[in-house]
């Protein structure tokens, strides 16, 4: 297991370095003048030169990459061209709140999706299976923004029950929980899109497991149905869910951009989107790297968890 862990961590570091190099190259392939994008159409050549000099944009690309690596190693990712703040500060303000939003919505999606998938597997091929699958796929197919606006129209505009968005003054994680009413709609919207995925993975996995010999044996031995489901089926059927949880992170962050824009929730997704539009390279690189690291970590944790849950995995690679 140790060797497996070391090897996986080594691979993860290599992937992160690859992400750094690739994103740096891609970002610098973007056409146009960064200084002009930030300073505006009427920026004078002198001001553009000052900007380039201030942020090292007039240096050769390898030197810029070295400076970027230096910033990353020092943990500050450089200074945002538009916000004038260290990128690490901008990310530190948003990441914990994103973690709360995405964590809560993912948890909600799991709480709904896993039992739902299990239910469908147990009623595989029946009308009940079709109704549940049809419902979640319909919600999954609907665009995030449409669901968000519909929920706002109903619960905020019409009934005045829920807040349509976060008050601008909330900047801390504690503040989010202090205003739970505002957290409901974004969490629900983000969860809706994940439930369909989780439930269908769970359904397929459970159907597969239900056909396994150990389930048949357990049934033949007269083990109670509830025990078969919780002790045998659930543990094995959850394995694919663990994997897709790690892989789903980029999708969840992408979905969060919409939620952040509509629900006035300034998080990582919106930060990344706005930085991409305004040529704010340090923020783009910082946000990409953080999302990349989170994805790699998610996969690493999933792999390790998989190894723990299924001894055949770690024995096979040892």
């Amino acid at each position: 297991m140790t060797w497996y862990l070391v090897r996986r961590i080594g691979q993860s570091i290599a992937v992160v370095i690859g992400v750094m190099i690739l994103t740096f190259i891609l970002v610098h392939l973007e056409p146009g003048s960064t200084a002009k994008a930030v300073l505006g159409l009427k920026a004078t050549p002198a001001r553009i030169a000052l900007f380039d000099n201030t942020y090292g944009l007039n240096r050769p690309l390898p030197v810029q990459f070295w400076l970027y690596c230096d910033h990353v190693l020092h943990g500050n990712f450089g200074v945002s061209y538009t916000a004038g703040q260290p990128v690490s500060t901008l990310i530190a303000q948003r990441l914990p709140r994103d973690a709360v939003l995405l964590g809560t919505s993912t948890l909600l999606a799991l709480i709904i999706g896993v039992p739902m998938g299990l239910y469908q597997a147990l009623h595989h091929g029946t009308v009940r299976d079709d109704i549940v699958a049809g419902t979640w796929f319909t919600l999954y197919s609907a665009p995030d923004f449409m669901e968000a606006l519909l929920l706002i129209a109903v619960f905020s505009v019409h009934f005045h029950i829920l807040q349509p968005n976060f008050p601008g003054g909330i900047t801390s994680v504690g503040g989010l929980f202090g205003d739970l009413n505002a957290l409901v709609l974004p969490v629900v919207v983000l969860a809706i899109n994940s439930v369909a995925g989780f439930s269908q993975y769970m359904r397929s996995s459970a159907i597969e497991e239900l056909a396994q010999d150990y389930i048949r044996t357990a049934r033949a031995k007269g083990v109670r149905r509830r025990l078969i489901l919780t002790r045998h089926l659930l543990r094995n059927a959850l394995l694919p869910i663990v994997t897709i949880l790690g892989l789903a992170l980029p999708d969840i962050v992408a979905g969060a951009v919409i939620a952040e824009a509509i629900f006035n929730f300034p998080g990582m997704g919106l930060l990344f989107w706005q930085s991409a539009l305004s040529h704010d390279f340090p923020v783009m690189l910082g946000a990409t790297l953080i999302i990349g690291i989170a994805t790699v970590l998610g996969n690493l944790v999933a792999d390790v968890a998989y190894g723990i849950l299924d001894p055949r995995i770690r024995h096979a690679v040892a």
């Binding site: 973007e30 056409p31 146009g32 003048s33 960064t34 002009k36 994008a37 930030v38 300073l39 505006g40 159409l41 009427k42 920026a43 004078t44 002198a46 001001r47 000052l50 900007f51 201030t54 942020y55 538009t82 916000a83 004038g84 703040q85 500060t89 303000q93 606006l149 706002i152 905020s156 505009v157 005045h160 807040q163 349509p164 968005n165 008050p167 601008g168 003054g169 909330i170 900047t171 952040e260 824009a261 509509i262 629900f263 006035n264 929730f265 300034p266 919106l270 539009l277 305004s278 040529h279």
Partner: protein, 613 residues
């Protein structure tokens, strides 16, 4: 010499109205007005919450560094450190003598010397505002102007030969050349604040205040210190430096999200002492989020309405809001690239530009795209504000009102086979007056690509309308959109000097929004040869002469001469320019008439007529 219009940018930011509607309704008052004007005895106190879309102020020192282009900082600082010359009197584009910091401002010596007498006002800590505060600003800028965002080549402080302070309330500025006083007051002195020398002239937080600004090294050190303090967002509301103000408001709370609040400066010396007890600026990530909040019966007291959402105005009125609009101090246009290898030879011909302008149905764009909330775009000066700047020609609709017949006649008279709905071709090449013109070959099609910023519904609609009506005269337009920042970053200036340059190949016509004006809607910086904002390479000695007359001459007739010449010459194709529409709580008085030059918002004159929130 274009001045960065931070103030107006902030106004746009404050009431972000970038998306516009194809249709709409609602009882919206016109220029500077409101749909209802609450009357009654002002009620002392109350809190007003203002929505700001995308707001992210990041610096509180009023003289921003050259690399900080964040227009929202003006919203943050303007209430605390107003300009020496206060821009806008109600909705009028004139200096406001009551709110300005000077009691008299006289020009002499052939308009080379300005004598300013300051009002006997005080800083918030009780110290009198004196001429030393002006020299403090001047000394800081004299040494650091290259690092000052609002510096414009050749203008203040470089154009100052010397500054004298004969007494504590008088400043005498000797300029290196004569200026048109109106231009200088409107566009230069109206961008300079006074700063408290007695509190800020130091180079460390714990250091003693001195006269450090009087040496170049000292001014550099003070500038560096103040810039560093001004960028420290964590201390905006607590740093004692920023508590010394001369405006009506003081910052009381600030969060990095862009949320902040003002409380009254109880020692404010000006005529309009705040009646409200608090003003809160709350940020929104998008105007969708802002509109949802408005519709949800929450505590927003004043907010912009995207023109896409004007259909919701009746619903907002039912929620207890009044509606108002204010014209945008700027000019919208399509920029022709006179040095594009393909389109340049065509666009350099005045008659082609004239025919294209005749084919723009501006009244239809105003009514259908902007729901009636727009300046008609008759020429370089918007006619909905600044009446003193509107020439009779512009007031009458400009030189090229919509007329496909005139456009077709013009093209035919210059040797084009006109194919309405198709593409015109040159059938009479040559340089004679009745030929197509220099550089135009036989059979050459009259076709252009229009590049514009994506993501704004009104631009999509406006440009589709432009494409459609140009086709009536056989001018074939193809449309291409890109993200706005990409558009800005890739647009290179193309002129006789830069030509041929690869970057000039990339665009033929461009529509990126509008140019903002300060109070004096001067063409300097946009239409004079080699001006920084003259990206399309327009050049005319006559235009240069007329613009110089508005900037350096003293004749009041000079402005109309420039304006009419520019309107006729079409250095840009004129388009309608959308106004700002916003809503405010019905029991909030004093919001209108709106001042387009002060960020639109002057909460010091607002008050609740019934129970405030």
């Amino acid at each position: 010499m274009s001045r960065t219009h931070r103030l107006v940018t902030a106004a746009v930011a404050a009431l972000a109205l970038t998306t516009l509607a194809a249709c709409g309704g609602g009882n919206v008052a016109k220029v500077g007005g409101g749909s209802s004007a609450p009357t009654g005895k002002p009620q002392k106190g109350g809190t007003v919450t203002i929505a700001e879309v995308g707001a992210s102020p990041n610096d509180i020192f009023p003289l921003l560094t050259a690399t900080n282009s964040n227009g929202y900082n003006a919203d943050l600082t303007l209430g605390s450190w107003p300009w020496l010359v206060y821009s806008g009197d109600g909705a009028n584009s004139v200096p406001n003598p009551q709110e300005s910091l000077f009691s008299s401002l006289k020009w002499s010596d052939g308009d080379k010397v300005i004598t300013i007498v300051l009002k006997p006002w005080k800083w918030s800590d009780g110290t009198p505002i004196t001429s030393r505060d002006f020299t403090f600003v001047y000394n800081l800028l004299k040494t650091n102007y290259n690092d000052w965002f609002d510096y414009v080549d050749g203008l203040f402080p470089v154009d100052v030969a010397s500054v004298a302070t004969p007494n504590a309330s008088t400043v005498v500025i000797n300029l290196t050349r004569s200026y048109n006083p109106q231009f200088y007051e409107d566009n230069v002195l109206a961008t300079i604040p006074l700063l408290p020398q007695h509190a800020w002239d130091k180079s460390s937080l714990t250091g003693q205040v001195g006269d450090y600004d009087q040496t170049a090294s000292g001014a550099k050190a003070v500038w560096t210190f103040l810039q560093a303090q001004g960028a420290d967002m964590a201390t905006f509301a607590t740093n004692p430096l920023w508590q010394v103000v001369d405006g009506p408001w003081k910052l009381s709370q600030f969060q990095s999200s862009g949320y902040y609040s003002w409380v009254p400066n109880t020692n404010y010396s000006g005529p309009d002492k705040p009646i409200l007890s608090k003003v809160i600026w709350t940020p929104f990530t998008t105007d969708t989020a802002e509109m949802d909040t408005l519709r949800s019966n929450t505590t927003l007291d004043i907010a912009g309405v995207p023109l896409n959402d004007v259909r919701q105005i009746p619903a907002l009125e039912a929620e207890g809001y009044s509606v108002a609009q204010v014209p945008n101090p700027g000019v919208a246009e399509i920029l022709p690239n006179l040095y594009n290898p393909t389109a340049g030879p065509l666009l350099r011909l005045l008659y082609i530009r004239q025919a294209m302008e005749y084919l723009i149905n501006r009244p239809q764009i105003v009514s259908k795209v902007f729901a009636g909330y727009a300046d008609p775009g008759n020429g370089p000066v918007p006619v909905l504000y600044g009446k003193q700047f509107d020439s009779p020609l512009e007031k009458a609709g400009g030189p090229y009102p919509y007329s496909p017949a005139k456009a077709i006649a013009l093209l035919k008279a210059h040797g084009w086979k006109v194919v309405p709905g198709g593409t015109d071709t040159c059938v009479r090449p040559g340089a004679a007056a009745s030929d197509c013109g220099v550089g135009i070959k036989a059979g050459q099609p009259l076709t252009f690509q229009l590049l514009f910023g994506s993501g704004t519904a009104s631009f999509d609609q406006q440009n589709a309308a432009f494409q459609s009506t140009e086709a009536l005269g056989g001018v074939h337009i193809t449309l291409k959109s890109e993200p706005f920042d990409t558009l800005v970053s890739t647009t290179g200036t193309c002129n006789a000097q830069s030509h041929p340059a690869a970057i000039c190949d990339d665009w033929q016509l461009e529509q990126y929004g509008y140019n903002t004006y300060l109070m004096d809607p001067s063409g300097a910086g946009s239409f004079n040869t080699d001006a920084n904002g003259n990206y399309g390479g327009y050049s005319s000695p006559e235009m240069d002469k007329l613009i110089n007359a508005t900037e350096y001459g003293s004749s009041t007739a000079a402005f109309f001469a420039y304006e009419d010449y520019a309107a006729r010459q079409l250095p840009l194709l004129w388009l309608p320019n959308a106004s700002f529409v916003f809503v405010y709580k019905k029991n909030l008085a004093g919001v209108t008439p709106l001042n387009p030059f002060s960020g639109l918002l002057n909460p010091e004159v607002w008050y609740y007529t019934t129970s405030g929130s």
